[in-house]
Symmetry: C2
Subunit: 407 residues, 2 copies
């Protein structure tokens, strides 16, 4: 029986924290073969990025991957040493040594395949295998290039290894207790969920819940790996991310509220209402790797319309730069931005089969005199754009309206 | 035309120093294909060792190698980024990517072979190749283990690459101007040597001159690679380490004075004078990787003798631990240690063919009333053990006696 455990950077930030994690791993290794995936210690990655930018403001992707991969390589070796100190056999492997073969896409390489022979061989010899997260290699020869998997990469490493090894479980240890019905720092009645579906988790992650990165969840869904998210410093059950099952039908159809205040709303004013215009606008943004959400286009008035959407605050300047020539090309009047808005969403796979949830959401917000700027929906999510100043009030109102304190 | 340049940790300790080195490299790259070997930045290696020891006082060699190799991996990527910032194409390679295949001997792996195909391919595409020093890999597959080459490892990487690439020159840049006739901090008339033979350099290095590690010089001698040692912050010619040539015959037969105050003298008292006793003593030390020098055995008196030798101060405690059971086994009386001695040596390939140098050395020391505790010699070196307090006086006396200020 194999289990995969992943510990994030804050869980291994100091030698004392690393020793504490090693104890947990050694305990787990009494009952199963354990593969541990570790992130770089604390702020190591940020420090390396800062050092690189001192030397080169536009650092090359391949060299950055090689540089950043050292963080996880070091923490994996240190974790193996901490396990040895507890008398537990352990061996650390880089992404390449662990057989994680990726595309040649610096900074965001996707895993092509995993050749798990070396991991299996080390497990068979009774060792804990510590794998450097977030990284891979472009081929199975020593001259191949080192790659990194991008944001959430160590989570992805863990889930992909769990799939390749047919592991019994994949446990992501972090500094929160699991997935909550809402941010517990805002809504004190927020309840930890025992289970959540992949789909729901993806919607929550996409809408601002920062527990786990979408990509790892997608890999989990694709290969049917159940993912446990739990606190690395507690012995508490956490939240299990899994596929929908029949038991889930009798629970609250709304599972959680996500919010994101770190957004800006852009409006392209006076857009000629012709085919291909939206493509020109959004293609220029996707080329720059800018994610866009809550797109709303007004009804055309005399062949002229306004087009609004939201982006992450960090992308706002890049977005304006990108759009300024496009605005001219398409003959739009102006581009304006607004940083006073926030997104709030209700998510739950029950929303699909229960009509009327949108009504209830809008009604609850209206009762609190919270104006809705825009609305978007997916099958299992309803998202409203509201005044950023009213976001906490909105979270508490909706938590109550959908009785999320109840199972 | 290929040249190999190596920059040590102090030369790349900060981003500013790294930029300065990048400028030198870019300048050299205008005239030749350049392979740069870099050490880890500043104290990185010591910091990683300290972190490891916090987790495990007796860290496993394989994991240490994997941990320490990150230092050079990071500095090589950063150097490539610094070169890019100057508009110079560059690619960094780990030891493994550079094709440096070693034994499986953690912490002190010797290079088995170098598969330079990737380096040549990158050079052919017009790039500077930055190789992480001090490291290799046990095989040419990505699952192979990372190894380190031990002390002086980056120098060895540079010389071995120069040999494998049939480079025109191998330049070791450091924080001194080259090899001197004596330590210039002690003897202000000390003169930088323009050339020195491999053999002389090995004797100087073995006797305390810290400019270059013996191992890299041995590799240079074996493959006939001429090694230039020069200052990384100056445009000065440095010292060229090469094989003896006819011009060297007309120079001063003594080339330099080495000294080492960081030693301890051990005496095994009352040793039964039987075959195999010396083997038992020195075998126990070589097993513990302790280097021994200046071995002197007194004339036997009634089948009992005393045996003296020197070790590095850092090895003194380990040495005593190792010898304490041996003393009992062989029936010796006692083991005493003395930390008040120092070694001083004159080195020069001319010593071999010029008798009388020992006389001159002993006479010069006697004139200054410096007592000689022990003497050892090689073909091209004479070493005396003297009172540590008189070491500076001895250096100055011998420098004058052998007219080392003259070419």
């Amino acid at each position: 029986m194999i289990i995969v455990q992943k510990y994030g950077g804050s869980s291994v930030a100091t030698s004392d924290k690393m020793k504490a994690v090693a104890s947990r791993v050694a305990e787990a290794a009494k009952k199963a073969d354990v593969v541990v995936v570790v992130s770089a210690m604390g702020d190591t990655t940020d420090e390396l990025i800062s050092l690189a930018k001192q030397l080169n403001p536009m650092p090359d992707g391949r060299e950055m991957d090689k540089l950043l991969a050292t963080g996880e390589q070091a923490s994996s070796a240190l974790m193996a040493l901490a396990l040895h100190a507890l008398g537990k056999g352990a061996v650390s492997l880089t992404g390449g040594q662990a057989g994680i073969i990726t595309e040649k896409a610096p900074g965001k390489a996707r895993i092509r395949k995993i050749d798990a022979r070396r991991i299996k061989q080390e497990l068979d010899s009774g060792k804990v295998v510590v794998v450097a997260g977030f990284q891979g290699i472009t081929d199975n020869v020593s001259s191949a290039d080192i790659t990194t998997l991008g944001r959430g990469g160590s989570d992805t490493t863990a889930v992909a290894l769990a799939a390749a090894l047919s592991a019994k479980s994949c446990e992501i240890y972090t500094d929160v207790d699991g997935v909550f019905t809402a941010d517990p720092r805002v809504e004190r009645n927020a309840r930890k969920l025992d289970t959540i579906t992949y789909e729901e988790m993806l919607e929550l992650a996409g809408q601002g819940a920062r527990v786990m990165h979408s990509r790892a969840v997608e890999v989990g869904e694709l290969y049917g790996v159940e993912i446990l998210v739990a606190n690395s410093t507690k012995n508490a059950p956490g939240t299990l991310i899994k596929k929908e099952d029949s038991n889930m039908e009798i629970r609250n159809p709304v599972r959680g509220i996500a919010h994101d205040t770190d957004i800006a709303r852009l409006t392209v004013m006076g857009v000629p209402d012709r085919p291909g215009i939206a493509y020109q606008i959004f293609h220029s943004l996707s080329e720059a790797n800018i994610s866009v959400d809550v797109i709303v286009q007004n009804v055309s008035d005399a062949g002229i319309t306004d087009l609004s959407f939201t982006v992450n605050n960090a992308d706002l300047d890049k977005c304006k730069q990108r759009l300024s020539p496009v605005i001219k090309t398409i003959g739009a009047r102006d581009l304006i931005s607004d940083c006073t808005v926030a997104k709030i969403s209700i998510v739950g796979s029950g929303i699909r089969s229960h009509p009327g949830y949108a009504d209830r959401m809008f009604g609850a917000l209206a009762e609190e005199d919270i104006n809705i700027v825009s609305i978007t929906t997916s099958e299992i999510r309803i998202t409203c754009l509201i005044d950023k100043e009213k976001i906490k009030q909105a979270i508490r109102t909706l938590h109550k309206a959908f009785e999320l304190e109840k199972v």
